[in-house]
Amino acid sequence: MKNENNNKSKELGLKLLKDMYLSRKFEEKVQHYFSLGMIHGTTHLSIGEEGAAAGTCEGLEPQDLMYATHRGHSQAICKGIDINLMMAEIFGKVTGVCKGKGGSMHIADKDKGVLGANGIVAAALPLACGSAFAAKRRKQDVVTVAFFGDGAANEGAFHEAMNLASAWDLPVLFVCTNNTYAMSTHISKVMKDTDIAKRAIPYGMPAETVDGNDSFAVYECIKSARDYVVKNGPMLIVENTYRISGHSKSDGNLYRTKDEINAWKARNPIDKMRNDLLEANTCTVDELDAVDNETTELIDKAVQFALDSPYPELDDVYNDVYAL
């Protein structure tokens, strides 16, 4: 029994680690090619927040659906989107998962349950009610996750979706990636009470707060929340974490201290997972390094795929505006 548990958590731990490595390395490449001018537009990196994304997505079932945020690379990767196609998308290539039309802020793949990142803060929350509505109507064992940030919790869309989901008992799992900042704005500046979990109270909705840098803990929390949601209706999960990277391409980090960033770097979810797995004697260093190496290769291949892919033809610009 002990052994079986250990095997399970080993398997799970390595999976979570792999997810997080993929996310981290994916974004490091994006950052790199962005700085070289080979990726355009803007990108919002989630470096430091991979624990929240990995734990959340692993806690779901494969058929579950998800709406991501503008900072959604890791969310999409952990949900299982093809990293080659996603990398190509961010390079604007025709092989991209959105044919180069969406880019970093609009990564989506319906077949993988990724119903899209969104450039409009909090807009995903009402949309998530829709797929949940459909699933409930069809009596499917499907939960929809709506990711959103601490800043997004101040938008009207948050309130309307929370109210609608609770009034109609929709199977939506509202997941707040609370990194305590909206761009430069600290949560304490824009919320009188910064305990986001309390925002579930008016809707008679249960809520839980979890250490988002502990992907094991997130996984456990989401797993039982999913059980609850599919049977009873919506729930709010607040995952506390930290964005180590800047907000987007143009962030002078004037609003926070190096010390603060460094403290969170030290607690980053990948190193934490490695330490936890080692300390519990669940894995050996070699096993962990194998994941490290494997993911490096996968990401390198994704970059190569993107680089090798052509840009779309101009003619393609008219396609996909309307469905037949």
């Binding site: 959105c98 609009h106 319906k110 829709g130 459909a134 505006v321």
Partner: protein, 327 residues
Amino acid sequence: MPKKEITYANAIKEAISEEMIRDEEVFMMGEDIGIYRGAFGVSGDLVETFGEDRIIDTPISELGFVGCAIGAAVAGMRPIVEIMFSDFMTVCWDMIVNQAPKMRYMFGGKVSVPMVLRTASGGGTGAAAQHSQSLEAMLCHVPGLKVIVPSTPRDAKGLLKSAIRDNNPVIFLEQKLLYRTKGMIEEEEFTIPIGEADIKREGKDCTIITYGRMVQMCLAAAESLEKEGIDVEVIDLRTLLPMDTEAIIKSVIKTRHALVVHEAVKTGGIAGEIIARIADSEAFYYLDAPLKRLASEDVPVPFCPVLEKGILPDEAKIIATVKEMMA
């Protein structure tokens, strides 16, 4: 073909009802559309026929429930969503402008959003500035949407059925003052294709391009003008986006005169779009007079009936404008 008389409101209800029977995935959401029967009574007894599971009263959360409809559409359902007054589209404008019409494109064609947003549009009801607007021009500036404004019970029914079957977000702007008007429709099932204008009256001297509530007014003006020897062609656009440019150009080449009439305020109205299409077409070379438009004055809709009537186009203004053009 056997025909029957029906009101504009009931034609809409029939379309919804038929499509709900035809397709289990069709359902309707909106404020007070159930037992209240809708603010304009359009849904009638639909809730009794289809139950509260398919005719769904929502909280006053347009952003929430329109978003929910979009999400359900992406998931393969076919929501019809009702916004009580078209002015309230503004509180969920992001969903209408940035979400529904762009998702398919942004996601590389992998999703579609088969949703119909029905809403009551226009003034003349004494409901003042926040309940009387005609906002179709704003919607026509959003690629990815389709925009329909029916002027008769038959058009309303046929076009709404097409809209429900369409795989794109369609905004269906019902005309408040037409809800109780009557017209003939066939007993049998029928649809009307989206994107085709209808020549409601043929004529050879002047083309009036219009839609919605203004159609009847233009037809009445045309009758009067006929007595004065001016033979007016009245084109009812029916669908504004996509627009049936061909029908417009063809008619203007024939009549050499074009007047656009709409209820929306003039500046920034869709008349500009129509005129630009004419002015950059072969028809330009045939024109015998400046291209004219007649629309509401550029003011918020005033409450007082005297003032409200004053800002709207009417038969007399249409007649005067056409005469001026033909002079």
